[in-house]
Symmetry: C4
Subunit: 390 residues, 4 copies
Amino acid sequence: MALPTQESPKTHHLSNITSQTRVHHEYVPETLSQARTEHSFPDDLHPVNSNGLEKTSSHLRNTRTKLGLHPGASISEDHDIAERQDFLWSRIRLVLREPFAEFWGVFIMVLFGDGSVAQVLLSAGQASAPGGDGFGPYQSISWGWGLGVMLGIYVAGDSGAYLNPAITFSNCLYRQLPWRRFPMYLLAQFLGGFCASGVVYANYINAINKYEGHGIRTVPPSRTATAGIFCTYPQPFLTKPSQFFSEFIASAVLMFVIFALKDSSNNGVPKSDKWFPLALFFLIFGLGACFGWETGYAINLARDFGPRLMSYIVGYGHEVWSAGGYYFWIPMVAPFCGCVFGGFLYDVFIYTGPSPANSPWMGLKQLVRPDFAWQVRKERAKKAREAGMV
Amino acid sequence: MALPTQESPKTHHLSNITSQTRVHHEYVPETLSQARTEHSFPDDLHPVNSNGLEKTSSHLRNTRTKLGLHPGASISEDHDIAERQDFLWSRIRLVLREPFAEFWGVFIMVLFGDGSVAQVLLSAGQASAPGGDGFGPYQSISWGWGLGVMLGIYVAGDSGAYLNPAITFSNCLYRQLPWRRFPMYLLAQFLGGFCASGVVYANYINAINKYEGHGIRTVPPSRTATAGIFCTYPQPFLTKPSQFFSEFIASAVLMFVIFALKDSSNNGVPKSDKWFPLALFFLIFGLGACFGWETGYAINLARDFGPRLMSYIVGYGHEVWSAGGYYFWIPMVAPFCGCVFGGFLYDVFIYTGPSPANSPWMGLKQLVRPDFAWQVRKERAKKAREAGMV
Amino acid sequence: MALPTQESPKTHHLSNITSQTRVHHEYVPETLSQARTEHSFPDDLHPVNSNGLEKTSSHLRNTRTKLGLHPGASISEDHDIAERQDFLWSRIRLVLREPFAEFWGVFIMVLFGDGSVAQVLLSAGQASAPGGDGFGPYQSISWGWGLGVMLGIYVAGDSGAYLNPAITFSNCLYRQLPWRRFPMYLLAQFLGGFCASGVVYANYINAINKYEGHGIRTVPPSRTATAGIFCTYPQPFLTKPSQFFSEFIASAVLMFVIFALKDSSNNGVPKSDKWFPLALFFLIFGLGACFGWETGYAINLARDFGPRLMSYIVGYGHEVWSAGGYYFWIPMVAPFCGCVFGGFLYDVFIYTGPSPANSPWMGLKQLVRPDFAWQVRKERAKKAREAGMV
Amino acid sequence: MALPTQESPKTHHLSNITSQTRVHHEYVPETLSQARTEHSFPDDLHPVNSNGLEKTSSHLRNTRTKLGLHPGASISEDHDIAERQDFLWSRIRLVLREPFAEFWGVFIMVLFGDGSVAQVLLSAGQASAPGGDGFGPYQSISWGWGLGVMLGIYVAGDSGAYLNPAITFSNCLYRQLPWRRFPMYLLAQFLGGFCASGVVYANYINAINKYEGHGIRTVPPSRTATAGIFCTYPQPFLTKPSQFFSEFIASAVLMFVIFALKDSSNNGVPKSDKWFPLALFFLIFGLGACFGWETGYAINLARDFGPRLMSYIVGYGHEVWSAGGYYFWIPMVAPFCGCVFGGFLYDVFIYTGPSPANSPWMGLKQLVRPDFAWQVRKERAKKAREAGMV
């Protein structure tokens, strides 16, 4: 099917410039639209014949492909990239476009999240505060994480703004995001959380010294513990299965609602992505109000493991790993299980588009019959290669 | 009147794809527009010649009709349903599309709502919390229910997102939603609340054991009662009429404002449905701030009776029914009365579209003269059959 | 200048139905646009050749004109009004369209506002609340009034949603809203506040009896005073000028920001009215955070005098008038002065459209030279008659 | 490249009036779009052949140019400016359009911000408040500043709504806003903060007298200090580098996120400016939750120095300067450093448009080789002159 846009790109450019640069996926015809629902949010930023692909030199395309990224970086077509490819750093930025976006998205998210915990925890009960009772109650933390995610999504638009390895994982599983994207995204997300918690520590080092005593760093259930600023520790009354269940169910809800918000075939309301960041604010705020107590709603490896490693490095000692009965692995593993389960529920009960849940044996055929799985994967890879999406 | 879209569907598809898949009801011509105002929000998702109707096989159409649902399920036209009707589960999902949507919408709403109550109540006063005073104040509950409704609406877009039997009821009464839709919607809504409260219980079972003592489960006015996590109990100083009045007036306000927000002939602001979920957040938050104390603003059978039954089953004893002078029936009955009254007020004072309030004797003629009522109903059923809407 | 819409109304209807029924003022050509800025928000809902005018029978038009309202009621053109003019009540509703809208808008606003005050005040410190400290802090009141205004604007779309006599007044003064609209609007707004506070009283009568003692009703500075639920009382340390100044400056800010939000020539952001209700939520919340202590930010005769009269009637005694040194007149007078001053500031420093501030002697010529004022008024009335706007 | 809009302006006016007056920058063709990204937000309000330019008489143009402003004021084309240039004040308003906008934007921001601090601080613990514990907690201040910025942006749309000299500075540095704009903007912003804090003082003078004692005015760490209402004072445990670091990092985050929100080439979500004010609410709220304790998140010379001077004038004494080890210079200097650093990070890692970071040696070439810098500046000035933007 020939598209008008391909026949007269110039005219199209003049009249539809908005649709191209901003909301171009609002006007995509049938075939592209199909591609969009299949490849979820990040990859729909790379339409098949996109300018990005043409702008990116073949050398850069190769490098990006090796890193597991889409060969063409998504660049606004107003911006003359070619001209700037002479500068070394511009080339680096072009190659690492999505990782940079994920890094800064998670950085902003963790900076606000951990920062708000730090302020609430360290200033608790301070009578000289305006209002006479510290600089923020527990709810301030819900605000911090909620708006941190919201602003992180705005910042990380170039990569699709996953901000969470478990969400990237679910998109690979259910929305045909190529698996080779996963490692670079994971690395960038982890580093974002790691660095941001370092900045929070640097900012609050005086206050921590005052709170715990100079040079003392402890982990819950110590009475003056400050390790909770950086990563999550469970309440002491929880059994191990309950720890896991709490993180699992919170992650499942996270994924379920995100899939609903991103499902353009759901007749629900947001449709345009414009409402997505605000809806995520409410979603994260809600998780903080419902799952914030027992295990601290980590629901994100990058948000928990990155800062945990940082707190270990700056001197909180081996207890960051051993506390809560070696709890640390739960916020690493449970989010993946939970997001996979939440995504499964959504696809089974509501989603009508292409998904393993809409394939033979509800996707399980691929699990139990490796030859069939191999065949499906090969077909998909072939299709992707034809479309130039690698 | 011949519509351009019917003459050249292909062209229309290319140029207006947005309007069809997303905001298709923005461009509906006069006759359909009329249908929309008459059939309220959920049914305007089923235009007369919709693809859903064609896509759904005649066997499935029959099954859906028997269940009281619209014969054609509303499916995004990008999605190739026919292909997937080979899978048993896909067929089930197609048949139960609206019930599934209502179920998950209420599930999300109650999960966040009851979950936030649980966290606030069980962690109250805990000094080791960041900020030193528990994990959330009373307002956290207003947030939980407000955003639970908001996110539930996003999730339940395929069914119109009533999330409340009393609101479904009012739409049948005032907005010509066929009465045969009511039972399935009610069942799905009830089950959503029932299951979600079970998940909340599972998540907080350790914490409840710690709060009440292992295996002890009590109901207000016990000092350590936790039954209030699941459903509402009135303040002890309320007389029975006051209990009823509080729920009644809150439900009336709920329905009044929702009718305003959904009334496309109101020159007020939201118009597009995009603002509806956010406005509902504020509305529910406001009800929690004004009517949250005396009776707990149940205003919803599915939100109150479902979790109440669950709490009875998990062992809170007979007091869940007898507490407050057998209060339990009030949040079952009052929301229906309140929503009917609120809808009546709106239609009498503001609404100019088709409504019983805009018919002879302000709709009462149908009540007191059964023959007239029968005649009106027959005419409406005939019209619906002609339009293929059953 | 002939408009395409006048040449081929049918075509226009098909293609632009959205613009007509919903956002029709987005596409208005130059002359109407001029009219819009001159006649502020409510009257731009009555375009010169609107269907409303044609639909309304000449008898009804006369009645409306006598009441000071625009001769044609603004009705969605989807709705067949003519058919329903047979019913008595439909005719009444048509005649009183704007007053009904203002009434219910203020009703919703005051219900949420006064209701939230009641809950916070009467439940203060209750240990059996979830969280252990009452059902909402002071901030809950800011939420209540903020979202009450927001939802009231949604409800009162048919009248322009002033909800405040002082704002209506400023619009008459600066935005050419005909002065004859003022009395009916004022009456409707007053009654809305009066009735809503009655409902709040009915809802909380048990709780007030428990708080004050049965049948006892007191006014601040009594220690158990509950009169503050209904209307505002000043802090005791305020001098009379400070009382006035606080209400004055809050009203000025209110009007200044509203004029900015409604000024389509301001290059600021909202432009479309869609953001207006949400921005008003923030504005009212902010006034509660900055001016809520000293005098309770009445800034509205309808919100203060209506409920004050109701509280007098239900038995709070003569002190509702005499408290605070006969403070009651300040929230009646200061909002008018403040809104006029705030509107003046905006027009003088920012507004570039038609306004007294953009006329000879900055509008004062009309004040000091009655003959000139008379001439201006006659010209305006003549123009309005020609346009059929009376 | 000839634009259709230039060929047939009349037709264009009829069909695209929305795009011109409201969201005209959504449809700008390539060259203008380029100009927009180069000249950041305020100057894209002055398209090259804008009506503003034609409307403004040459005398006024000269005056504006001398003040460092764009020669043509941005006026809605509906408004007949020429006619009103007869009035002296209308001419003044035309000349000082952007300074007036910045003044009132900062005024609104500081009024709400300082006002909320005053209410929280002075009413702390008051038992007669509804809820029994003062009129707002610390979080009320986050609300005040957040919504103050939001509403300030709405008010100051005509100037681009910088509201912060450090942000203006960064836009000059990275987004080619002409440096000559800077002084007038700075002056207007400073005066806005100065005057608003005076109004807050006038409003709360009785309450301050009651809180501190009549005529007594003290500065932290005095136990009854009220100077913190107006400007920021650091916590006593902070070292000087920590003071600087806290303001620095908060400013960097501010600029980083704003650049993301304003970057139309970022595939993130807001795109249209409509979401900008709301996102800024969340951003400022978040900064209050993370950086509000240690140094009070001044991050703005106009917000801190203006009110500080006012507090010095009204009698808080020399300590307003000397407190915290002559802390006062840090909120003057650190925001500039922080914003420059934050903007640098964004441009280096994410921005693909024209920026010093996308020029040889990452912009440092201009720093170390003055001759090169001179050449670049000359070229840019030449280009601006040709485009009539001076």
